[in-house]
């Protein structure tokens, strides 16, 4: 049976909202606050513009990517869950093999609520961080991609709010309201995770953020998609199909930036990627600066995975609330009572790898899967550089570098993972992490380019258009008033 999306309420959904008066009422009450949040956030001229967006009209593969011009405030945010799998079982932990829960199991109520709130909090946070980027979009194509990411983050907030309203009663309603009350970077009510309170000041930061930080989000969704609480699993599975677009924006955004830099260097006959001033004079971002941005965003994102050894993570796995990446494809007992896993530890100020009980290393296992996933794109960026014949290689820094959480957080390491003194660190930092001057330079390139088919000086055009559209397609019909 196809899962048909109902449009008979204000909120498109495939969860039969019209026959669930209590939840419908709660969501309708929450809805105006959401619309206000959105309207106050994105600059007015973009709210009035027509954006060529993808909207899901059903959750089967053929129906979830329908493209059309939409004004963002009129985007059909809805509640879409992947189709229910018959006889689904709890995939991991002490309840592995028992039927998946359709209601919240009492003993795990608090744990579940916390996980959903943390996930939900990141969704509006990133829209808040990116709110001003439309003003400096390097093309209408990129502006459209930004807004697509934004409206889908908004939809992901809806997805989490639905779970809170449907399954957590008065507590859930309060949490849902708080998701709109907290603000990224706010003094009195900041977002819950550190990385989501930093501003996204420029487009390279945005691409790095979508590549590295949204990829953490993707891994968390992958783990929650394995949940024994079936509504959460179904919600996250559908969110993952949308998350793939965010990965695409990040990977191709950084790739196109690298591409343009390499092309400009070749045109100008510059072979040495460290001739930074000469390269910057071409109106492109030099490769060493891109590497520094990579170092920063990768390490900030590693912090999002928490401590190397974590009893919280062990508990949620054991409870069957959160699984591992691709749990259903792993070939073990899915309980991990007697298994071990290798994690980084610090012994005598040296990073060493040690076996610890696998249950307590659930976070690290997910982080290792994350690093593998993230390394793939870095090697594809290197292929671009290699193809242009430039001698430079992007690298992921060592996991000990620039960490604020976990065993490495108290010590100073260089990107190779070697312990360094404070003086050595201060000396090296300007080559490892973006400086204020780097930020100012990148900012100086952030000039909007709003002509269809044209791109700012620092970024190459994409190889393929969205929805197969030709190169000069007007992805955003800007409201000029």
């Amino acid at each position: 049976m196809l899962d048909i999306v109902e449009y008979d309420t204000l909120i498109p959904n495939n969860v039969s909202l019209s026959s669930d008066r209590r939840v419908l009422k709660a969501l309708e009450k929450w809805h105006p606050g959401y619309i206000n949040w959105w309207n106050d956030l994105i600059p007015r001229q973009f709210q009035e513009s027509l954006v060529y967006l993808r909207t899901a009209v059903s959750v089967d593969p053929k129906g979830w990517a329908k493209f059309d011009y939409v004004k963002m405030p009129e985007y059909r945010w809805g509640i879409l869950l992947a189709p229910q799998v018959e006889d689904r079982k709890i995939p991991c932990g002490e309840h592995a093999g028992e039927p998946a829960w359709q209601e919240v199991p009492g003993e795990y109520r608090a744990m579940l609520r916390r996980l959903i709130v943390i996930q939900g909090d990141t969704e509006p946070a990133s829209v808040e961080q990116q709110r001003h980027l439309g003003l400096t979009a390097p093309s209408l194509y990129d502006m459209r991609n930004l807004f697509q990411v934004n409206v889908e983050e908004g939809r992901h907030l809806w997805a989490m709010v639905y779970l809170l309203q449907k399954y957590f009663g008065a507590d859930g309603r309060e949490e849902a309201d708080d998701l709109l009350r907290r603000q990224s970077g706010s003094e009195e009510a900041p977002r819950m995770l550190g990385a989501f309170n930093e501003e996204t000041p420029d487009w390279l930061s945005f691409f790095m953020f979508t590549y590295f930080t949204d990829r953490d989000g993707k891994m968390q969704l992958e783990a929650l998609a394995q949940s024994g609480f079936d509504p959460l699993s179904r919600t996250c599975r559908f969110m993952l199909t949308e998350e793939a677009h965010h990965m695409f924006v990040g990977e191709t955004g950084v790739g196109r930036t690298i591409q343009r830099t390499c092309e400009a260097m070749k045109e100008a006959g510059i072979e040495d990627p460290y001739e930074i001033e000469k390269i910057r004079a071409l109106g492109v971002i030099d490769l060493p600066t891109i590497q520094k941005k990579l170092n920063l965003h990768y390490t900030l994102s590693l912090d999002l995975f928490g401590q190397e050894v974590s009893t919280n993570a062990a508990n949620s796995f054991n409870a069957g609330i959160k699984g591992r990446y691709m749990e259903h494809r792993l070939d073990d007992d899915h309980k991990l009572q007697s298994d071990s896993y290798v994690v980084w530890q610090l012994e005598d100020d040296k990073p060493v790898q040690r076996e610890v009980p696998a249950l307590t290393a659930i976070n690290m296992r997910l982080r290792d899967d994350y690093t593998r996933d993230a390394a793939g794109g870095v090697s594809r960026w290197n292929k671009i550089i290699e193809k242009e014949g430039i001698n430079f290689e992007m690298k992921l820094p060592h996991e000990s570098f620039n960490r604020k959480i976990g065993v490495f957080s108290d010590k100073l390491f260089n990107p190779e993972g070697k312990l360094v003194s404070g003086a050595e660190y201060d000396q090296g930092a300007k080559n490892w992490l973006p400086t204020h001057a780097d930020g100012d330079f990148i900012q100086s390139l952030m000039k909007p380019c709003y002509e269809p088919g044209k791109y700012a000086s620092w970024i190459a055009s994409p190889k393929v258009g969205i929805d197969n559209k030709p190169g000069d397609f007007e992805y955003v019909k800007l409201h000029m008033a």
Partner: protein
Amino acid sequence: MNKPVKQHLIDPEICIRCYTCEMTCPIEAITHNDDNVVVDFDKCNFCMDCIPVCPTGSIDEWRVVSEPYSLDQQFEWMELPAQEEFAEGASEEASGLEALDDDMARLLAEAHAGAGGKAKAPASASKASINLYTLAKPAEVTVQGNYRLTADDDHDVRHIILDAGGLPFPLLEGQSVGVIPPGSDENGKPHLPRLYSISSPRSGERPNYNNFSLTVKREEKGICSNFVCDLKSGDKVQVTGPFGSTFLMPNDSAARLLMICTGTGSAPFRAFTMQRQRSGATGDMTLVFGARTADALPYFGPLKKVPETVLKKHLVFSREAEKPKRYVQDELRAMEEEIVGLLNDPTAHIYICGLRAMEEGVEAAFENIAESTGRAWKEIRDVMRSEGRYHVETY
């Protein structure tokens, strides 16, 4: 040599390895290693479920191959191999990608045979989606309207508007859809779809509505045409498609179009004209349209409202009272100077659509006109065709 086959591939330079296609594929035909995501030729059944879920467009790649690429070969790729060249004699049916099922590919190959060689889309055409809906998984669309276009009793031509509702149905002008008439044939098998060219532009019969139109002539004893011509508003129809990836219009706004048709062959040209009006194209368009009488000419009324500055109209009638019979080829000869100008213009595109019987006469007229300039028509035609500027679709 093996009969060439169509193979579904993924472009490794565009793919971001998100594995969404792999998770979506209902039959596990997609797999990956550390390098690439690949499609198993032996498993893929062209169900198209993976196409819309791909965030990059890398999934929408097809090659006609004499020997399918193995998984190991695909794992090694850094970039997609070029389409292999087939010998000059290879038929479009064998080497084309107009449709992914053999019956539809054969019908389109037959329809395009009059172009004298392998059909090629205009360089600036949009990339067409094909085979989203198949006999096994058709789309159900709803009739929004059925209007009679002709006043002649012997020629009942209908304009049918179909609404795809919430279903994604991306169509380009010049593409066709298959209509599945209900019931079964004398052997008890369900009827195969009949192909009809759409007559509305890409943005819909009504702009930004998910609907499209067909132009259908009632044929005596025609199972499908009678079914379609009798449809009423609200009726449901099973359709397949879209089909066709070469008989498309150029997006280049300055391109010039010469469109030659008879009867319902006017369907794609209605779509071309509307699309160019909606997109504000600047290149001129000329229509040479033949019918028995004005009463038998579909869209006679609306056509007269299109300004001559947008579309130069040459309506030609073969059975008008007390007038000599005139056919489209006669008109073409009378337009010699204009035609020569078009043949010499690298931005000109020629389209011929209608009954097969018109082909010979039109071809002869072009031969005469080319000859008068001292050039061989077949050479001009072959160059234009290989540049995607000469298109024939007859039935």
